[in-house]
Symmetry: D2
Subunit: 316 residues, 4 copies
């Protein structure tokens, strides 16, 4: 009998995005993406999609360069958080406790092998809609904004990394992530990994940084309800002058219907939808894509845009 | 600190549906719903949606009367199955072990307080598509059928019961189900419950049987990718002469976009979609709907059809 | 050989809507429907959908009671307008020339047999988007608003009338309208008619006023691109507290996917979509619905709401 | 006052497609596209979409090479047909009368300046569905097939030509086509034209043959109801092994949402949707795209695939 899986992390909670153009970035997320501001603190603005249940899923922080400040994962229980901290605290990856933030209680910080900062927390601040934003249906966090792309909830994020395998082992060992799909080159080198804590087919992905840099960020993704919403988002980005990098199209990997753009601060942002696809099998066998298979491009034949392998934030 | 949640059950695996018109029911599920036959055994045919990873999610069995034979839940691991059996085996609910079925290994059977038969299993038979049904993308169980309603995967089921609260306590205590939404009448009597093992907002629902009967079945539901798919399904049912009971419309409870029809054997079948909605919070606070709130009807004002409270299978 | 059809009218151009709550109605059309204001004059505000090519398709005028001020049809050419005026000017229906309005040149006014005011014009004012509303693609009248329901263009209107047959003959004889569908009761009395000048299956409909009143208005309809847009509109109306009368559902007649609400002034407003349906046959045989057929309700079984036969503006 | 427009042609009625692989092409149109066979004659099979009102919109004819046999336009009336024949019969373009075909009565044939064969007819054979294909709603030609891509109706065709301007003048002068959009190079040479007889923004397009050949065919297009239908079609083509050339994406010209594939005989086939877009203005000013504008690619940035300018049937 195999050992039982670690189930201590509940889901991706938020990420901190760094932007050299804070006002333009804020306008983009509020007016074009259709997100809601929950509050401000120092150089940061806290934002969320209309269905995100926590105070924030995006912390937008003014910075000299674009990139990701940190990513936050919510533990399933106080005991679960303690177990993860116990496993991490004496390793080379540990940073230590913080007092928390506007949106959550005490958090334990660590670094993945590539240097990205990770925050684990359990206590959270649930979003309470002010009267003007109260929804008509009580099982919804906030009223539907009817503005811009109307993104629903944070879906996943994607980091670049030098050594995918090392990061995979780290996330499996210390956080109990399950690998659902990966790319393995003919040389045996792992070039991409998609991992999950939930029934979503991934909560984050890591892909190889073709520039050999470390600690960089690839993109964050908000989910909408249908592929039609993504096509409409493409119209909205076009009208708003937001640069479209690629899409809308369907990824072969994970079958996500995607659209990639750049927010004014230079970070890549995706709007995506996976239909009703979920990973329900508790013992899902990871799907392994070969180099040859990936050369076929995306699901319906679109070639992967070259910048996808080289552009990350901060740029190099 | 609260005790930690039980996470032993992974997901709803399948249900056995009884039909007095086996050939007509089979034609309905294959030709109109767009499902695939995996095999046959005795009086039963095993069926699945194109994205269901197991051998079957629906076992269609010839019977004098319509109704549900049993529902099957897959445990997260062998150890998890053992724990659930240990908790159940000496209770009034226990039935005992079976050798399994075409689609899975040994299963432990029990009864909920209303008499519905439940099966717990871990070992499963993964669906292997024959050459003609192999998908173009390797991360998909089977090729998309392009036939009828093209239902994707089993989503949930709904039973009728005399005492909702007793059933809720049973599922919470013995199976670790989480309650996400419920209806509580002004009298304090619970009239409906929606429970989940996953990030779906429910894997099954129980609603009060207005006839006072026990052990009856309300409906099973297959998911499609978009609300547009459900509107198209309505066209297809209309053309095929399948009786539509209610919808398409949006439920206030759970916000599911629904369409209810009757299969030839008399059982109620739903096609549904919840957009990108997921329950990610590990400590989700159940949404409680009052009698007054439920009298408003569905989300956009459609009155709940009367037969919804009284018709179940077997009919009384 | 039959005589050739009259092809002098190009399309429904606009309608004037009367409202006792001008500011609330304006807010509804701009903020909830997503329309754009082109200008104001006296007690009127001129509005349009983002794809309407003329200055306005809706003239909203303050008035003691709700209802329709007039409907405007654009002629295909100056010569075509002259022919229609020549046919009408000495009849009991004629009113005479007006100097035009903000959105168009001289117009000839007449009344249908039920008393609704009709305006025929050729010279029009094309909408010129101000810089902030210029579209990214030059083949579009205005940038997509990304606000509220984002209605695209005026689709049709519906009047109530005492004598449908008399109105049908009037529109066929004097304006060259083509009847595409109608309801004929068992008594032989016509109860509804759908007429067109274009390849749309109708530019307007007349249905019998069950109250026996004359000159009343039933609803105006703006088109959106997909059925999904209408489902989303239902969400938006729900959030905005706009009363939903019926839908979303699919009409049996004309197969229009519909959603009816009431604007603050009391007038009924529809959002609709017909998919890719067009009437291309120049000699289309009108579809005649019997009393028995209409009793089946709408396409998927929804019963026609009672207020649909009795409520019009002004109310009686 | 300008002369009045010619309104004698009602719509594109059908085209004859030549295929060197008649059985494979037939299987493609019936099984993958979801079309219905109306009948056969000699080496030809007659096909239509479920909403096409005529006997056929596609005549599939076995031939040594792929390409288009002819295109057929239906006149608005017998008198209108006479007028068009009178205008053409003594010109260099005239071929003469044929007795008609399975799907229509006597037709007058001519050639455009590039050599494509055109057929004008008025008398037509309306499709009568056999019992098994009778629709549930009487205002529909045939029941919805629920098979493959379920294409609704013939939308348009596209020819390649050496001299676009000459063809434009021919269609304007002899058939009364209205130009809605065109591409004019910096040299003043016309490189593409989109023309219509209806409220659709085009019934056919001609684009310049980069190989300098004459009489070639670019593609035919069937319409579906939504962009979601086209995304689903892409999935279906992928599963069926049908080569996808480009898309799904949105054209800048005409804003059509498109998907191009190759049928087994080698002809290019498009599935498209234009939302609720219609050209209602009787005096629409053609939109002129410059060389610079076209270099931007499609609406959301996809580069036009090179084969689009060079591949036509028969291939050269």
């Amino acid at each position: 009998m195999s050992p039982e899986p670690i189930l201590d992390i509940a889901h991706l909670g938020h990420l901190e995005l760094l932007t050299p153009k804070p006002q333009e970035s804020l306008d983009f997320f509020v007016d074009v993406m259709g997100m809601t501001e929950s509050g401000r603190s120092g150089d940061s603005v806290y934002l969320r999609g209309w269905d995100d249940y926590e105070y924030h899923t995006l912390k937008l922080t003014a910075s000299a360069k674009p990139g990701m400040g940190h990513m936050g994962f919510r533990a399933r229980s106080p005991q679960a958080l303690e177990r993860r901290v116990a496993a991490l605290k004496d390793t080379e990856f540990a940073i230590g406790w913080t007092d928390g933030d506007n949106g959550h209680g005490p958090a334990f910080r660590c670094r993945d092998p590539d240097g990205h900062v990770i925050e684990l927390y359990y206590e959270t601040v649930r979003y309470e809609a002010p009267p003007a934003l109260r929804p008509a249906l009580k099982n919804q966090a906030q009223r539907f904004p009817a503005r811009g792309c109307n993104v629903r909830r944070l879906d996943h994020l994607n980091c670049l990394a030098r050594d995918i395998a090392a990061n995979r082992v780290f996330f499996e060992t210390y956080l109990g992530c399950r690998l659902t799909e990966q790319i393995v080159l003919d040389s045996g080198i792992e070039a991409g990994m998609w991992m999950t804590f939930t029934n979503k087919s991934y909560d984050f992905a890591y892909t190889r940084d073709a520039t050999g840099s470390m600690g960089r960020f690839h993109h964050l993704t908000y989910a909408v309800d249908s592929r039609e919403d993504i096509l409409r988002a493409a119209d909205i980005f076009l009208e708003a002058g937001v640069p479209i990098e690629s899409g809308p199209h369907k990824h072969a990997v994970q079958q996500t219907f995607f659209l990639y753009v750049f927010e004014p601060g230079g970070n890549r942002v995706e709007i995506a939808n996976a239909g009703a696809r979920l990973i329900l099998a508790p013992d899902w066998k990871p799907v392994v894509w070969t180099e040859t298979e990936r050369k076929k491009g995306q699901a319906w034949g679109l070639k992967t845009v070259e910048s996808f392998h080289t552009y990350g934030t901060p740029p190099v």
